[in-house]
């Protein structure tokens, strides 16, 4: 696993926006997700974006590192033909009575996803504020690389302006090398596994 900083990013600073390139299948993705969530200590606010996954699934993966009573948890959950909104509630039981704010967005509407995320970034009261977007691979099933690139330009800027830190998952096995080369300049750092899954 390597952590590459983009040119111009101070190595002593926590990168605001990190591209997390891991195989979608296997433990690496979730291990690195947990590390990225807690880079600056226990997060005060976590904003998740789920597309093919659900808020419940993400919370289950975070159960060892996030205390849902002390951390404000919010999700922008994108429901579409491949997964119903009802499934997004999976795993919410047993979270010690945590209140989780879930905004459902029908279809992959980047304008709406962006508006919801930026509103939540502006309204976050407890820091550190951490964003987890799961995943760019899912969004690329519905949007062109060019559109996603433009969308991420705005989103990464808003994350930095809000003094938040964000990571964006992408399947290491799901795209040609050129896609990674095109997306990488959007981020302050890229985390890659040493090898792709076979």
């Amino acid at each position: 696993m390597s952590d590459e900083l983009s040119p111009g990013v101070d190595a002593t600073e926590t990168p605001s926006n990190v591209l997390c390139v891991c195989p979608a299948i296997g433990n690496a993705k979730n291990e690195h997700c947990r590390d990225l969530l807690t880079r600056e200590g226990p997060p005060g606010t976590v904003l998740g974006v789920t597309v093919a996954s659900s808020p419940g699934e993400r919370m289950s993966e975070w159960s060892n590192v996030i205390d849902p009573v002390r951390t404000t948890l919010s999700f922008v959950d994108v429901s579409h033909g491949g997964r119903s909104a009802a499934m997004s509630a999976d795993g919410f039981g047993g979270q010690n009575g945590a209140i989780v704010n879930v905004v459902e967005v029908e279809d992959v509407d980047l304008q709406r996803i962006g508006a919801e995320l930026t509103t939540q970034l502006e309204n976050a009261e407890k820091g550190p504020v951490v964003v987890c977007l799961d995943s760019l691979t899912d969004l690329l099933q519905f949007e062109t690389e060019r559109t996603l690139h433009r969308f991420l330009n705005v989103l990464t800027a808003r994350v930095e302006q809000a003094d938040a830190i964000a990571h964006y998952h992408i399947d290491a096995d799901g795209h040609p090398d050129r896609t990674f080369d095109t997306l990488t300049p959007l981020f302050d750092a890229t985390i890659r596994p040493n090898c792709r899954s076979e």
Binding site: S6, P7, G8, L110, Q111, G114, A115, T118, T119, E143, T144, E145, R146, T147, H149, R150, F151, N153, V154, A157, R158, E160, Q161, D177, R178, D181, T182, L183, T184, P185, L186
Partner: protein, 183 residues
Amino acid sequence: MASTQDAVLVASPEEEQRLSITSVLRDHWPVRIATTLDGALDSLDDSIAVTVIDESIEGAPSDLFAARLENELSFQILWLGASEGPFADRAEAVLDPARVEDQSLTIVDRLQRRARYDRLLTRFYELARRRGRDDEESTAEGKPAATDAELDSLKRELDEIVAELDDEDAFEVALGDRQTVDR
């Protein structure tokens, strides 16, 4: 300072209206004038950032929107007329003809920022796509591969501009051209 890509095209058949708006704008940006819709369409090129179109102009204003899409131009459209109607809804901004003197500068300035952001987003994506292509591919295309320093500089410029746009403008500009083909 004005760049070569921030001209404003004012298309209006009314001389008084043209004079009124150009007198406000010409100290800030290069201004071109068209008195007919055909004249406006003939004037469109990469140097136009904002087109002001008077609702009283003869012809189909939809041609202006179509020309923008077909020619992959990124100018912003300011509808000079009533705030309701199909063309007012499609334009990026609407200016009440009675408010030209006190509002046109503010509105065109905002549209200039949107146009600049759009151009830079396009440039950044094109450079990013070229990143990582080997020398052979770059030579074949006649375009050198982008360096990380170029991309980093452009990203900083983009971040500065987007900080001056509100969320609605920023996402609208970024996502507003999904009908255009990927290049």
